[in-house]
Symmetry: C2
Subunit: 551 residues, 2 copies
């Protein structure tokens, strides 16, 4: 295709023609204009019509993106749009499909699309007020609204700090990973701050800090269900991945507090300074919530920065019915929430909140031409530099969906997950692996006779059966994805009931409000059908043999 486009020549190149692309709108009726209208009029229809359901092989798709030569002369907009439709849109993932319940990207409210267009047309840069004007106070208001949802401070508190020159209630960024890194960066800089002649870790680095404070290292503690961004944070911050201390979890995937305290004692003896404790509100794999309140006690007792990674579960706070699940979050020093997850905003926006509006000063920076000392430029306390006005979309969500609307969406997801898990328990051929606390849980294909055999088998046989089941689960997941009608993801867990043996499980994430009980039953139906089709595979035969050898 690319070759064809090139051969057709493309538009004549001249400064006059170039200026046209900056000044002349796409003609009504042009391919691009048509798509623009189609999306406005019927987004779901557009996606349905243009995305090919059946999955093409990635290696085959790659062939359309092989040419690394930038064309010498322009390709016509219409031709490129046709290429995008045929080769990109067609081969993209239908993330908003009600039967795609395997990832954390859901359907978007309609109003988000034209609002995004306005945001992009305005092309503001939030690094400084000179290129963002009203977007700066708007972003601060968004931070204030979510800060209030989380920390419930007084009117006076918000009146004082919301638009304050030097203080910030948080930072908006491209997503949860940057939010988590920002939080741990402040935690590190505060734990090893200026002290007598020592100018602070931000000036002297990790090595100088450890020497000045007389430690052998610094550590961050989190349960073994912690998101991989934390290990990335430990690496990038110069702490080291080995110093992200992974604490075992109980059978509900929650951090084990006695193991945590034991580890803290151990670190003390090793002269390693733990400076941050991370609680999880909605583990990525199983949707569980750590005992935040008790973790806050421990953080207080040991002088740790308490960060809560609520990238997924934060919006549970909207629900009066379920917000108590997160009790203790209001005691966190910082909290990560992803807006492109359960705030239903398009991809590319997350945020971190700080209980104390002074915390971000520990990473403050300035330059001569922007974010000068004393300015209200938000860029002085963000990890990123130039940033788009995504806050406008979060703002619109909070206003148009409202507290009550978000609560309903959250409750709908939790209750749908509950019903689906309860249904799975009644099935002969599936096994619920992790029970839903929020709207995420795991299960696997495992017929009743196999489950019975697992209960009474010796250790070796049990391991063997579980390994076969893992392979079968993986094949089912992949085959279902390739068929293109439904999608669940898969992960590996080490359930207590199988002596911590790692097993592969299906993982469902139920945040799309268009997903119904019926859709979910069809997902199971298709998985059952795929399993039936594997009847003659070597794994299935081996499994049957292992079940037959039962005493």
């Amino acid at each position: 295709m690319v070759e064809v486009l090139k051969k057709t020549g493309g538009a004549e190149i001249s400064m006059e023609n170039l200026l046209r692309i900056f000044t002349v709108p796409e003609a009504p009726g042009s391919t691009l204009n048509r798509l623009d209208n189609d999306i406005s009029e019927n987004l779901a229809g557009f996606l349905q019509e243009h995305i090919v359901a059946e999955e093409a092989d990635l290696v085959k798709i790659e062939q359309d993106f092989n040419d690394t030569r930038i064309p010498e002369v322009p390709v016509f907009v219409s031709e490129h749009t046709q290429f995008l439709l045929d080769k990109v849109v067609a081969q993209s993932v239908h993330t908003s499909s009600p039967s795609f319940v395997g990832h954390m990207t859901s359907a978007l409210p309609y109003f988000m699309i034209p609002l995004s267009k306005i945001m992009i047309a305005l092309n503001q840069n939030l690094v400084k007020t000179e290129t963002s004007k009203a977007f700066t106070p708007l972003e601060r208001q968004v931070l204030g609204m979510l800060h209030r949802l989380t920390y419930e401070q007084s009117d006076e508190f918000y009146d004082t700090w919301l638009h304050h020159g030097r203080k910030r209630l948080g930072a908006i960024c491209s997503g949860g990973t940057i939010a988590n890194i920002t939080a741990l960066w402040t935690a590190r800089n505060r734990a090893f701050g200026p002290d007598r002649d020592f100018p602070g870790i931000h000036h002297s680095g990790m090595f100088g800090a450890m020497r000045h404070y007389g430690y052998e290292g610094a550590a961050i503690l989190v349960s073994e269900r912690g998101h991989y961004s934390l290990s990335k944070a430990a690496d990038v911050l110069g702490i080291g991945r080995d110093n992200l201390i992974s604490i075992e979890t109980d059978s509900y995937n929650r951090i084990c507090l006695t193991a945590l305290e034991r580890k803290l004692q151990e670190l003390k003896q090793q002269r390693i300074r733990p400076f941050a404790l991370v609680g999880i509100a909605g583990t990525t794999e199983t949707g569980n919530i750590d005992p935040l309140d008790k973790m806050a006690d421990i953080a207080e007792a040991y002088g740790l920065h308490f960060h809560v990674d609520a990238a997924w579960g934060g919006p549970t706070l909207f629900s009066k019915r379920y917000r108590t699940l997160l009790k203790g979050i209001e005691r966190a020093d910082s909290v990560t929430i992803d807006a492109h997850k359960q705030l239903y905003v398009p991809m590319g926006v997350g945020l971190v909140l700080f209980r104390d509006p002074s915390v971000l000063e520990s990473i403050e920076h300035h330059a001569q031409y922007i974010i000068r000392q004393g300015s209200k430029d938000l860029g002085s306390t963000t990890l990123e530099g130039s940033r788009p006005g995504m806050a406008m979309l979060v703002h619109a969500g909070l206003k148009i969906i409202s507290r009550g609307g978000y609560a309903m969406l959250i409750e709908n997801g939790i209750e749908l997950a509950r019903r689906f898990a309860d249904h799975i328990v009644t099935l002969e051929d599936f096994e619920l692996v992790s029970d839903p606390e929020l709207n995420i849980f795991t299960y696997r294909w495992a017929p009743a006779d196999v489950q019975a055999r697992l209960l009474e088998a010796d250790e070796d046989t049990r391991r063997e059966i579980n390994e076969i089941l893992s392979r079968i689960t993986q094949v089912i997941q992949k085959e279902q994805r390739e068929r293109g009608k439904a999608f669940v993801s898969r992960t590996r867990l080490k359930p207590e009931c199988y002596d911590q043996q790692a097993i592969t499980v299906f993982r469902v994430v139920l945040a799309n409000p268009l997903t119904t009980d019926k859709v979910l039953r069809e997902v199971i139906e298709e998985q059952r059908e795929i399993a039936a089709g594997m009847r003659d595979s070597s794994d299935m035969r081996a499994l049957a043999a292992l079940v037959r050898t039962s005493v």
Copy 2:
């Protein structure tokens, strides 16, 4: 306004109503639908009509964003849209105006707007192929195209590495800051990698690495014109801001090579390990380019990772006429290019390229449910996690504007800057402070008699005059911005001719293809007019007195 919206009640809240926002498009003729169409039909007109020119006081604007209570019930989309129009769009910055020549955000090509809408409607997540499919090879192609532009490797090279499972030609991210951090993160991890029993800095952190390798610290070197993101990088990476070693520049704002070598010797004696040298291709304040080829020699001789921050100047490579200015960039280990600057893509996308496709392995990470070992998921080597499909817009720019088109845009900006600077030299009342090498330069208001006085005055008088001129420049810049017709930015420089005294200067950035010589003359005209209006100010009187005391 917010209060009014609330009092009007908003939409009734029920799950049925909520589902409507996910399933029912905005009605034709609704406020939002109208704006959507207006932008498609006439973007420039939309911005012209809705953005208020005269600048409102930020404190006044803040009053519209004071409420931190999330509404209990939904605000109607139409009402919220009206609020956005009146309070956000109206009070945003007209970044695409031809007379706004003070920042690095320019006009956007028309086609970028509907394409952005398609990208947002698809809502892909580039962290893994499961949520991005064709977007993953597309992103790799974009990296390949810009890699080829920069490094000009063979067809075999690109055939082998473009879509390789473990190798990457670079990483796309939200902007230049993340790109620079990513580059320096790999540099740090490779300089202190695994060695005998030492598992590498990514496992053990900075402290363990310094101890194992027997250093007293690690350092990054860059000229004093380095972007502030580098100091942020030194902080976040645990190197420390004091270990970002700032090397003096010559009168063309280019790194002084003898000073650089002297510093490298000095660090050696202090047992501090310099691991990265950063060259700048387009300094933020003056648009100058470091002697990259000679820096590459030094980096080679001292075993340093050579990174080039070409966030601004990278696209100069499109121009056959000017690409030689960047000679030596092809020897860099890594190069940062911002797409939302001179690739004319909407805010929020930059990238870093690596000459050697193995470099990114030094920051590789995996998880159980995504970016598994052996997958082609791009998330295994990015600092960010979830990421939007912005690469689609970069891709469209490269195809539709083409090599030839970008070359023309670049050449137009450089030549416009040349003409404008030449014009300023002819003026009686302005002084050119830094001569343009690319399309950025600085100047200030300084009448001929003041300039003459500066030449012959004693040191104290010269300092005093320069301080007064700095204050006047600042007032003119601010007043011009507030009037809203034109915008230049300001910064502080220490020119050699004034014995390194810091002076405030106007800074112009000429990347908007709609900016003409005429527009620039009007900018000067208005500045002259503002200066004339300050006739009776104490600064102007003091300045006149100092000029009169001339011998």
